[in-house]
């Protein structure tokens, strides 16, 4: 164990209907090698031994790929540092004696489950509305090399495909908009020949679902791009807008 001392202010909320409040948790023996979540593990261990209720937070892979962890730390989605998720944030970014505010994602479409854990199933429903290519596993397939894909297109599609659906874009957006998430999914598939046949239907359906879920509108503040742990570019929002416009204009 290390010797950093920190003053944590953590959001506690018993359930979706509870009002919730910030509570103080002083912690000591924090090592700079710990990840932020490991620091919370140490705190929770202590809380359980004292017989209290540990702090609930979502996490799973702890290597930045599952999109579960979702803490708003000192006013930033996934805390300080660029291109990382909360689980990839390490305590060496903080100093002995720091006060750290820890809150859940705050957005109308992401209700709190408990403490720092939120329900992000709205993203599932956006995906289900059109974030796919309509093919079955019938074995009736064409060779993956039958349609050559220019490397540039494949690379751009890949950049969009790195979205892990964590919701940092929504949490950080002053409007609670899910445009960066939706744009990443639409962009990935509309750049690849396999996704092109359904592009109009996809853009319309996913945007419609996004609005239905209660996400706000995009006003181009660009905050999402800055906080995205996968550095997904605003260009994808521009592409979604073009896809959506084209689909609307040519709708039958």
């Amino acid at each position: 164990m290390g010797n950093m001392k920190l003053n944590l202010k953590i959001w506690r909320q018993a359930g979706p209907n509870d009002k919730g409040q910030m509570k103080d948790y002083p912690v000591s023996n924090v090592s700079e090698d710990m990840s932020f979540l490991e620091m919370l593990d140490v705190l929770n261990d202590d809380i359980v031994r004292k017989g209290d209720d540990p702090i609930a937070f979502d996490h799973d892979c702890r290597e930045g790929i599952c999109g579960s962890c979702s803490l708003f730390i000192n006013g930033e989605a996934h805390g300080p540092g660029k291109g990382i998720t909360t689980c990839q944030l390490h305590m060496r970014r903080f100093k002995d004696g720091d006060t750290i505010h820890v809150e859940p994602w705050r957005a109308q479409a992401f209700p709190v489950i408990k403490d720092l854990a939120t329900n992000r199933s709205a993203f599932d429903r956006i995906q289900a509305a059109g974030g796919f290519v309509s093919i079955n596993t019938s074995g009736n397939l064409v060779d993956g090399n039958a349609v050559p894909i220019p490397k540039d297109d494949a690379d751009k599609a890949f950049d969009a495909a790195t979205c892990i659906g964590c919701g940092a874009c929504v949490a950080t957006c002053p409007n609670g908009s899910a445009m960066l998430f939706t744009a990443a999914k639409v962009s990935q598939l509309s750049l690849l020949p396999q996704g092109k046949p359904e592009r109009k239907r996809r853009a319309l359906a996913m945007v419609e679902q996004m609005d239905k879920e209660g996400f706000g509108n995009c006003s181009n503040t660009g905050a999402c791009e800055i906080e995205c742990p996968k550095n997904i570019s605003l260009e994808h929002i521009a592409r979604l807008n073009r896809e959506y416009l084209a689909a609307t204009v040519t709708k039958e």
């Binding site: 209720d53 799973d60 702890r62 540092g81 290519v133 397939l141």
Partner: protein, 566 residues
Amino acid sequence: MITVPAKRTYRLAEVSANIIDQCVAQGVPFARDYGGLLDNRSFGGVQVSRTFYARGQTGQQLLLGAYSALMRQVGKGAVQMYDRHEMLDVVVVDGKARGIIARNLITGEIERHGAHAVLLCTGGYGNVFFLSTNAMGSNVTAAWKAHKRGAYFGNPCYTQIHPTCIPVSGTHQSKLTLMSESLRNDGRIWVPKNIEDAKAIREGKKKGSDIAEGDRDYYLERRYPAFGNLVPRDVASRAAKERCDAGFGVNKTGEAVYLDFSAAIERYGKLEANVKKIENPSKEKIIELGRAVVSEKYGNLFDMYENIVGENPYDHAMKIYPAVHYTMGGLWVDYNLQTTVPGLFCLGEANFSDHGANRLGASALMQGLADGYFVIPYTVGDYLADDIRTGPIDTKRPEFDAAEKEQKDRINHFLNNKGTKPVDDFHRRLGKVMWDKCGMARNAQGLQEAITEIRQIREEFYRDVRVPGKNSEFNQELEKAGRVADFLELGELMCMDALNRNESCGGHFREEYAETDGPQQGEAKRDDANYAYVAAWEWTGDAGKANLHKEALVFDEVKLTQRSYK
């Protein structure tokens, strides 16, 4: 005669080519070459470039492809998803799997789900070691409960330890991070030749870059000239352990080796200088150009490393150490992926099939996708055909009552237990026993000790675990308690299996069974005459009293030989 395991693997090879086509069609952005065709690269255990990939996150992209295909079915209403639910038991009626008991993780409600068939796609059990590269939520509970309801458990001791992970930094460690195996394509693994140098590095008096080229021991290239840094994972892991145990480790704990990209940076830099028509480039220019190439290939991994370790891997060689990554063992299944309980199927890492004692790079993805996309759609239909007139399954039957009560009783025990220690405390202790005595190297004495220690931890766990809160809420400690209880039984079975197998093969290395001389000295020594079988364990009501069934491995067309990586 062709035995079932061989037939299954043959089928996997047959359908594997479809996987890439299927995933391309789903919109998975595989790497493409400039000609627009799919690109390939090399991987551990092979000497040719034949692996399709998506930068350093192939598995993640294949998963997202499968997720999008699933969400399409959810959108259509063909599949109903129960996220944030955990399966707690299988319900068996008249010898057939007829449903499950599940807990809604948000409300705590215990639910009954009736079914004509149950498919487990619940992943591996590497987290029995506490520290592994698995996600924190990965657990054995669904598979273990199926085992306790009659499904045999195949080869539980076969565990893959991956060589390229970030070393443990302290006791707070919650999981280990895998650095993609693709790094071994360009990185060279070494430790100092002189033990004094290793000691100086551990004490912080020297750095890796202070060690002259001639004083470095590229031990994989030395021991395995044909495969070099691309030997299979088990071989690379054991070689790292061997050097570190001998005192050549290069971090504070003595459990780390270098993965060095300086040679690759220089090589790529020279090529790039040629491409850019730079004549007589300076050493600095070469390194600058080479770093740009390496950054393009592995930039995200290098960034990840720097975040975790706090050291720039372009300036200092990376430090790595093996960590638990994959479990080849799992529920025994037949050719149709059906367990020994009719109607209960098991797919992917959760089953034992296809990889034997040692899985090669990329083939977990291959097996998981083949099982799900191309095998089960046909085999489950064959089973369901006989149940076409069965009608809905009645979840009010006494079998459901009994299974539900059992789970509720267990939950109540945990919540009402007036213990003193959190769940993780027991999990960490179990993990340490498993890692020390049933990990990269095992021996009979250690395994016997491990069994005794696991029983003690298990007994203490039920007596002294503290689970706060109540059932009717989002209670992550309660979730963990149930999972660790199952790991505490599984761990014992793994040790029993490792103790039973008096040979070394793949990921299972028994120190007593190594080649003592000849060109393969120190390598794993199999005993094909006595152990060419799958060990399928049957639960008999008590951990530690499982019955062993043997499924023979018969080879007609090929003969069993020792593979040499020298």
